[in-house]
Each structure stands twice: as structure tokens, then as C-alpha cells.
Symmetry: none
Subunit: 621 residues, 2 copies
């Protein structure tokens, strides 16, 4: 049978990384366009069900508007989909399966396998006339032998049909218990043995990026991961504009709904991909910065931006997922990692849990490079934390060709002597843009090849077609349009470089100022954990080369990727770990760097590649 | 005509908030004190009907004891009423506002005044730059000094606008705390000092009747009471038919909504009458039988009617009122008194709390006569409980002219030698029907006048227009259509009598069988508490006369009215009392009378007025 290819070009609102989204399906001759669209994953409005009555599935073929349900495919076609005809938004999520599982840390299973929700299969003894304990008491009696010394309670919703369930299942049931307010609560009672079906999600809610992960609560296996831009970006790119937006109830509601929609899309996407029932998703653990937690939980964040910059709360109790409109088992639980202060949130506490700084004798440092840069220095005796206004450059945001570490992003760069550029692209396709780790490599290589000088200016005397004056400023071409997947040249310009320089300077100077605060030297730090949304890759050597990281023995560094997500995952899988997050948050003392006189001087000195004081970078010099 | 004012000072048991209850009437010179007392709403014993024969209406005037029916008012008077002379206690009723506050028990304030919801006014210290505790932590810090050793948590909904509330109110706020799951939870944070506005409701959810009471949580004052028929009656008059109805989800939903509607109407009515804001109603305590609790909470009750007759649960945790659609402050709490077993519910546990049986050395008995009859026998060492299928006759249900103790009900009856009938009608209007206490009087008087024989058959030979053959069976006319408010004759027929005989027989024989179970005699019982919805009045003498209650020294009896409502109210006002209900429920052993061989024999023997074995009723004989 003859087959044709149909390309659906989605409207502007569906740009992903500034490229229009194109979805393609190969269909048999004579297939209608509505069917073809569905096959391509494009869900068109069709309230009449494709009967040609509602007229809502209009598409544009050869500049003519036609109803998709009544137009048959007779050749290869390009179909433009107007915005109004689309029923569903296309998720901007990570595509390449090889990146979906995230970094698994050495400490992954450091704590007892004890998920916040657990299932227990029970065979209750037969009913007898002289035992008049209620059905629930009989359940408690049986559970008492299985879960020691824990007070168990029941939500009404969970025992509504208890009597029927017990009798219909011959008193052989699976009880799902969740830890909430310090005791186990019955989440559900199901007939038969369903212990195998128990899933959870870990989330890292960042200002720019949201990451979610489906985990099998029994095996601790990470099934899949999705990352997406935080939809709140529509209401402001940084926390301050979002707080202003959310300082009125309607704004708060919108900001809340935006991130909930991020989370629900990821849940929906992953359970579909891994054939998990939504009702079997019982537990969620979330880490995020303080503002993100306020917005997710619809807590007025307005005091955060008024002196003395206080959050409404730093700790959030475990609640039912339905209370925040998260689509999982509505009686399932969602817990939130506690934060330290306005600028050191639950994401950093999660990172500390993941790296284990609070359990080691060695002086250690965690540097989390996200939309902001946060640092924690310490050991099991003490910890201090601080924040640096680094901006989202290393998340690929705010740069002319920046993108997140997803398919199509340049994550590694080598520049030859002849200035030819070799890119390592996530997913092995054509480069569409550059992610954080790619920019670090790029700048380092540009410095080495003399394309830029120490201040970040592009050397216009260099003879290469890649160096040119862009619209308003000099730029370097990483990939020409012909090699690119973006339909245009992929470039880095002087504004981008300035942007990255400030980011790296903010982080480096914060490290130095924080050490100075406790009269320590970087040499005293035995272990440096680097976290952030760089993808699964960060070239430490190159990060030192550009002056982002201090120039110490490379063996002291460990790249831990999204440690916030890792900490959330560990909390999901171990109530012991979740409990420790409370201790961690209490034990970190927040240092306000803007009140430290040394900080500004350090910052100014760091606005060079690698630094004004080259003696600090002996191996780079 | 010359008029005088007569003040009746009621005895100790009728103290309201430690003040004696005083009732006043203005009467014409020469009026007898019995009539004056009735006018004042003080119902004195006068089994002879004021003929100066029984000597039971004794009162004290100028330190001299005189019969009220023979003492005439010649001046303004103060009359002390001894306890033994009172026939009626103040009780909740729909009609007369003076009766709406219910019986206040001696033990009313036996437990520490500690409502399950409490308000605390806080003035927080000023913000300083070097204190970066979150707003919530600042609140906790301040509360720690006010509420000792209690873990406090916050619902998100309660702290959503915390930051704004604190700043708008100059950090002077009232925090409302509710005890739930063993710790205090923040229910609301309001600007300024609102501690004065704090209200709660106590409910007794009976199969036939629902009673609700508005209480000021600060002063412990009962503001008002309402009673109504349980709207579930539309789905069956007894628990079995309701369970069958509610054994499918739609039926359960309907039964739930019916009783919730009862409760919401009472709340709406009372807050309007007493000018209370709905948002200031923070706490509700409910007592009811096991089936009523299942239906209220939408828990499938179907196992209750299948052997071995188990409830889904006997204990229900405190939840938010909005979780059961009760219209109060949605973050406010609703607690439920726990039950013992299918047939001994939270209403009986409430009664035990109210009467204090579990705290006394003396062997005591509680008989609660509602739709069923329930009994608890014991003391502080042990308690046993049982149920008797008495049916709702004493609630006025299932009888040809039966009605609840509301306006228009005959609550007291005297029949003269010439068979003329004198009715005391609630609200002083025309009789519309007869309530429980009226039937007791009526049967007693009919026995005395020979209108019925010991088996309950109407003596058709008696010459009176009141005795006739009704449609199918003999009947006695209590009030002819012309005297009646019902638009028809108010009658009692042989079926009614048979019905009441079975009811009273079921209760009496249960008392005897329960005593036999522990090898005790009724003489060993030092205190007998009679509870039930008879209205404002129960003539113990007449109840013994018909064989409903055992023939013991009258001083051992105490009529406690709706003790379920009283216990709910005590639990509302004292977390100590609420906690004790758990202990009470645990310490009552349920006895299945139907498994006791003695019970059926006793029942058969009790199907006479007063009893087959007359030696058991020496004072009646």
C-alpha cells in the first residue's frame, strides 16, 4: 500500500528552544488528516469526534484552510496547525532516554530502605462469633506485628469501603501506609497482594528548570526522568519578578498552577512511558528553593522581598498530594524538603543529604550552580551556607544560543588550532544551542586559542570566518546554519561572555568570601561537590581554567549533577533520610555575603578569565 | 385583682454555672402553689393531680415544708423546691426557649476547661536584621511560651497569607490552635485580638432524633439547643433498613447528606439566633450510635448487619469539618466520640462520661432509652454494656398518635375516676399527640383506672365514650378532635399498648439479664441514671408502675435527659474529657444478650404490666 509522510508544523506558542515544533507521521494513502495528526502526537480539537460537524479541527494545507477530519492524504504533505485547533500542549521535556536517569550518587543507598509509603500484604484470621473487634481494629491488630512501635491511624476516605473490601477479598488485602505527622496513616486497602505496584516521584523545582523522576519504591530503581522549563517563566524569569507577580492572590494561584502543571505533565508522561497506574503513585518528595516552595504550596511569598527578607516558613509538613492538586493517588503523600532561610532552600538541604557533608569529619564544600549559586561549607560539626547572585547563565538561560542540557545541546567543545570547532551534542544530532557545560568548554578553548582575551573581549584580528561582528557586537560562530539543528548559526557573542563572566565571578568570589568568614583557606577543603543543571557532564579542568572553580587538586572535586533531585529521591526512599533533612536545615547557619565587606572586592577581582590575581590559579597560569 | 410574685428556687442539681435556677410567676391572690409553679415552668410531682392525696408536691416556704397543692398565695413568696418534689427537669425542646439549654449535669465542669480549639493573642517582637527566622518560626517561638510541651504544626491553608497578616496587623495577631492527631495545629491567624469570638457545637446524632447545641468555648455557656427528626428517616425508620439503604455508594451518599443537612440547618439556625459568625465556629463534638457515625462519615456500614455484626471501625479520628461538608470554619475541627461495638456506640460512651460511672466506687447503671435501649453497668473497676431491641416507642415513634417531646405533645396525663383525662401539653396548647413520658403516664393511669388489664387489653366493659372499637382494634380516646390540635382524635389503641409493652419489656429484662450475667441484684445498684429523649420530663414513679424500670428506692434514680449530648458537650469543652472517652470505650465489655439464655425468659416474663412476677414490684403491688 502506498504511504505518505505528513509534517505537522505547530504554531508559535509551541516553539521549543525557539524552533517551531514539527511532528511527522507516515500514513497510508487515503488516511484523513485527523488520524494522521493523532498518529504524529498532535491532538487536534474535534469535539464532534471526527464527524465533520464541529469544524474545530481546521488546519492549513497549501495555504488553504481545511477540516482535518475530512481531508485525505493523497501525497506527502506539510500541514500548518493554527493555535486554536490544538487541544493539547506539547510537553517540553527531555527526549533522549540516555539522559533520563540522572546521576546516581555513591551515597544513593546510604540510608535504610524505608519509603515514606509502604505496602503490606495481610491475611486476616477468620471471623469468629466471640471476637467483636471492628474491621479496622482487626487490621490494626494484624499490622501491629508488621510495623513496630508506630501509631497507625486511618483516614476516613481509606476505610470507607473497608468492610466490603475485606469480605470480597476473603480477608486477604494489601494495606498501604504512609508516614505523616510522625505516624503511619492508612492510605488504601486493596484486595489481594498488590505490594509489587508501588511508585513514587522525586522532584527538583528550580526557578528555571523543573526535574521529575519516577522511582519504583520497592526496588529503588529510577525508571525515568523528565526535565522541563518551569512554566512560571511566563510570569518572570527570576524569583523577584515572580514574587511580585504572586503577591496578589490571583498571581499566586497562577504561579501555583503553572508549576503544578509542570509536575502533572511529567507524572502523566512518565507513568505512560513506564506503564504505571496513576493510583499506584503513592509518594512524592519535592526539593526546591524557598520561593518555589512558597509558590507550589500557594503560600504568600511577599515577605521574601521585603527587609529583613523572611520566608513565611522554611518547613512544610507532609500533606496529601491532592491538597496541592498533584495528580497521583489522591490519598498519597507529598513531602517537602525543609530549607534554611530565604536564600538557602530545600534544594541545598537535599544536596547536603546527597553529598553527606553533615556526616563527615573532613571540611567539605558544596557548590550548587543553578539560577542562583548556593554554597555550603562545613562538616559534621558545623555548616555555613550562603547564596551568590550568579544568574541562570550556566543553565543556558539568558544567552543568545543558550539552552538546557537536553537533546541538541552542545555539551562538550574542542577548538583546533585552525579554529575549527568540534562539538559533542546531546543525543548525537545537530547542535541547536549550547548548554552550561558546553559554554565552560567553549570559553576555555576560546581563551586557549586566543579568540578571547582575559577580559572576555573577542580578538577581532584573528583571521577566521567564525569571528565576525554580529548585529551589534562581535561574535564567534560555534556552528554555522548548515551544520546546525536550529535553522540558524549557533554563536557566542561578547554579551554572552560578559554574562558568563559575571556568573562565574559571583560564584568564585562567594567561595572565597565564605572561607574567609571562618578563616579557612581553599586548601583546607578536602572535598568539593559541584552540583547543577549542566547535564550529566562537567569538565572540572575547564571550569578552573575560566576561573569558575578554585584551582586545587582535581581529585578533590566531585561532580554530582542535580543533587537536589538526588536528595529528594533519597528522602522518598528512606524516612530516615527525610528525617535527617530537618537536622541538616537546623544545623546550617546562613551567612549574608552582601554584609561581608570582603565579598564585593573579591567579586570585582574575579571579573577576569580566570582571575585578576593569577597566583590563585597556578595550574592555569 | 391583687397579684403576687412567687419565686421558685430550684434545688442544687439544677445549678447552671453555679447559680441556682430561679423561676418566677406572677399569680392572683389565692392561687395554689402547684398552679403557680406550673405557670413558672416548675413541674412538681403530683401523681394525685393536686388532690392533696399523694403528698409528693412538698415545697418549703418560710422554712416550713408544706404541700404545694394546698398552700395558697397570699403575698409575694420565695419557695424552695426540694429535689424529690420535682418531676421535670429543664431539657432541650424545640418549642420553649426556656427549655432549650438542656439538662446541665452536676458533672458538667468535672474536667479542666480546655476546648479542643483555643485562641491565643500574640504580640510578636519587632523584626530585626540579624534574626532570620521565618514568620512561622517566629510564631512558634512565641507560642512555645504559651502552650507547654505540645508540638505545633501548621496547615498550609492557615499560613498562606501569614506574612501579610503579620505585617498588616503590626505583628499583633490571634492564633487559633486545634488539637488533632495528638498535637496542636494552627487553624487560623487573624489580625488583632479576636480571642473572645470562639464557638463550638455539640451534637447527638440519634437514629430518630438529632440534637445540636451552640456553646461559647470561652465561657462554657450553652447558648441554644435545637432538636429535629433525623432526615435519614426517609430512608428507613430503624438502623437495619438504613444500613441496607446505605450498602450501595449512592445510598451511603444520600444518608450522609441527610444527616449533614440536619446538622447544617441547626448550625445555621443557632448562629443566626445568637449572632455568631460562621467563621468563629471552630470546633464540633459528635456523639451517636455506631451506624449513625458510619453514615455521617460515609463509611460503608454493610458489615454491621452481617454475622458476626462488626462495624468498619469503632473509633474515628478528629478531622476538619469541611471533610464531612459541615458548614463551620472549614479549617475547624470535628471530633467523634468512640464506641464500644456495633450496639454500644459513642452516644453511650458520652453518657458514661456525663454520669461519671467510670470514676465511682458505687455500682451504677445507665439506661439510655432511645430508638434502641442501651445499658451500661459498672463502676471504676469494670463496666459491661448491652443493647436491647426496644424500638422507638418511647421516642414517640411507631405509635398511632406518637410524637416527639416538642410543642403540642402530651407529656403528662392524669385520668380521674370518671375517666376524664387531664393532659399537660408541651407549650400549653392543644394536644397533637403523645410523647414518651406521656405514654408512660397514660398507661399507668389506665392501669389504675382499670381501663386496661395487666396484659394490656382494653376492658371493653368499662362504660365510657372514650373506650370504643377503632377501625380494627379497641382504643381509648385521650383527646377528642374538638380538644385536639391534630384535627382528629388523639387515641391509644391495643397495638400501641402492645408496642410499648414490648419496648418496656425489652429494657427491663435487659437490666435483669445484665445483672444476672455478673451475679448482681438490682439492690446492689446504688445509682441508676435514666437517659433518653422523653422530653423535659419523666415520671420515674409511673415508669416503675408500668414495669419499665425496676422497683427500687426512688432516690437511687436520676433522670439525666440527653446524656449523649451532654457528653459530647463536655468533650467539646475539655480535651481531658475527650481523651477519657477513649478509655471508657476500651473499658466497657460488650455482652450479647441474645446469647444469654436467661434473657428470653426474662423478656417473656416482662410482657405484663408491670411484670409476671409481681414480687419484683412490691411498691406497685
Amino acid at each position: 500500500m502506498k504511504e505518505f509522510s505528513v509534517k505537522f508544523i505547530l504554531p508559535d506558542g509551541f516553539l521549543i528552544f525557539k524552533r517551531p515544533v514539527i511532528k511527522t507521521a507516515t500514513v497510508a494513502k487515503g488516511t484523513d488528516l485527523l488520524t494522521a495528526a493523532t498518529k504524529a502526537g498532535v491532538i487536534l480539537n474535534a469535539t464532534c469526534g471526527g464527524d465533520g460537524l464541529c469544524g474545530k479541527c481546521k488546519v492549513v494545507v497549501n495555504k488553504k484552510t481545511v477540516p482535518a477530519c475530512e481531508t485525505l492524504v493523497e501525497s506527502d504533505l506539510e500541514v500548518r496547525v493554527p493555535k486554536g485547533s490544538l487541544e493539547v500542549r506539547i510537553k517540553s521535556s527531555l527526549s533522549a532516554e540516555e539522559f533520563t536517569k540522572g546521576i546516581v550518587l555513591k551515597r544513593e543507598n546510604a540510608y535504610k530502605h524505608s519509603p515514606m509509603v509502604r505496602k503490606i500484604y495481610l491475611k486476616l484470621p477468620e471471623l469468629t462469633a466471640n471476637d467483636n473487634a471492628s474491621d479496622l481494629d482487626r487490621l490494626y491488630r494484624e499490622l501491629a506485628g508488621k510495623i513496630d512501635g508506630v501509631h497507625i491511624s486511618a483516614k476516613f476516605a481509606s476505610v470507607k469501603f473497608l468492610s466490603g473490601t475485606l469480605r470480597d477479598s476473603d480477608f486477604q488485602v494489601t494495606v498501604t501506609l504512609g508516614l505523616k505527622d510522625g505516624h503511619f496513616e492508612i492510605i488504601s486497602v486493596e484486595p489481594g497482594d498488590t505490594t509489587k505496584a508501588s511508585y513514587g516521584f522525586a522532584f527538583d523545582i528550580g526557578t528555571t528548570t523543573v526535574a521529575g523522576q519516577l522511582v519504583d519504591l520497592n526496588t529503588r530503581e529510577i525508571l525515568g526522568t523528565r526535565i522541563a522549563f518551569n512554566k512560571q517563566a511566563a510570569y518572570g524569569s527570576d524569583v523577584i519578578t515572580r514574587i511580585i507577580f504572586a503577591s496578589v492572590p490571583e498571581g499566586l494561584e497562577k504561579a501555583h498552577k503553572a508549576v503544578v502543571s509542570n509536575m502533572n505533565e511529567m507524572i502523566g508522561d512518565l507513568i505512560k512511558a513506564y506503564k504505571v497506574n496513576l493510583a499506584d503513585v503513592y509518594a512524592i518528595a519535592c526539593a526546591g528553593n524557598m520561593t518555589m516552595m512558597h509558590l507550589l504550596l500557594k503560600v504568600d511569598p511577599s515577605a521574601i522581598r521585603k527587609p529583613p527578607y523572611l520566608p513565611a516558613t522554611t518547613a512544610f509538613p507532609t500533606i496529601h498530594s491532592s491538597e496541592v492538586e498533584i495528580e497521583a493517588n489522591p490519598k498519597g503523600l507529598i513531602s517537602f524538603l525543609p530549607g534554611v532561610s530565604t536564600y538557602v532552600g530545600g534544594d541545598i538541604v537535599a544536596g547536603i543529604l546527597a553529598c553527606g557533608i553533615f556526616e563527615t569529619d573532613e571540611l567539605s564544600l558544596l557548590i550548587d550552580i543553578g539560577t542562583n549559586g548556593e554554597l555550603v561549607l562545613g562538616n559534621k560539626e558545623w555548616m555555613i551556607g550562603a547564596a551568590a547572585s550568579a544568574g541562570p547563565a550556566f543553565e543556558g538561560s539568558g544567552l543568545s544560543c543558550g539552552m538546557k542540557a537536553v537533546k541538541g545541546a552542545v555539551q562538550k567543545v574542542r577548538i583546533d588550532e585552525d579554529l575549527s570547532v568540534h562539538c559533542d551534542v546531546i543525543g548525537n544530532g545537530k547542535p541547536s544551542g549550547v548548554c552550561g557545560s558546553g559554554y565552560i568548554d567553549l570559553l576555555c578553548q576560546m581563551l586557549k586559542r586566543g579568540i578571547i582575551d582575559k577580559s572576555g573581549k573577542i580578538n577581532k584580528d584573528t583571521k577566521s570566518g567564525r569571528i565576525r561582528l554580529g548585529e551589534t557586537r562581535p561574535e564567534f560562530v560555534v556552528a554555522f546554519k548548515s551544520e546546525s539543528g536550529a535553522g540558524k548559526d549557533v554563536v557566542i557573542n561578547e554579551d554572552d561572555i560578559e554574562n558568563i563572566k559575571r556568573s562565574k565571578g559571583a560564584i568564585y568570589s562567594a567561595v572565597i568570601a565564605l572561607l574567609a568568614k571562618v578563616e579557612k583557606d581553599i586548601k583546607d577543603v578536602k572535598k568539593i561537590y559541584i552540583a547543577g543543571g549542566f547535564g550529566n557532564y562537567l569538565n572540572i579542568e575547564n571550569a578552573i581554567c575560566i576561573g569558575l572553580l578554585p584551582d586545587v587538586e582535581r581529585g578533590r572535586y566531585e561532580f554530582v549533577g542535580n543533587s537536589s533531585l538526588a536528595g529528594a529521591r533519597m528522602s522518598l526512599l528512606s524516612t530516615e533520610a527525610l528525617e535527617k533533612t530537618g537536622d541538616i536545615a537546623k544545623n546550617i547557619t546562613y551567612i549574608d555575603l552582601s554584609a561581608e565587606p570582603a565579598y564585593m572586592d573579591e567579586y570585582i577581582a574575579s571579573l577576569f578569565f580566570p582571575h585578576t590575581n593569577l597566583w590563585r590559579f597556578p595550574s592555569v597560569r
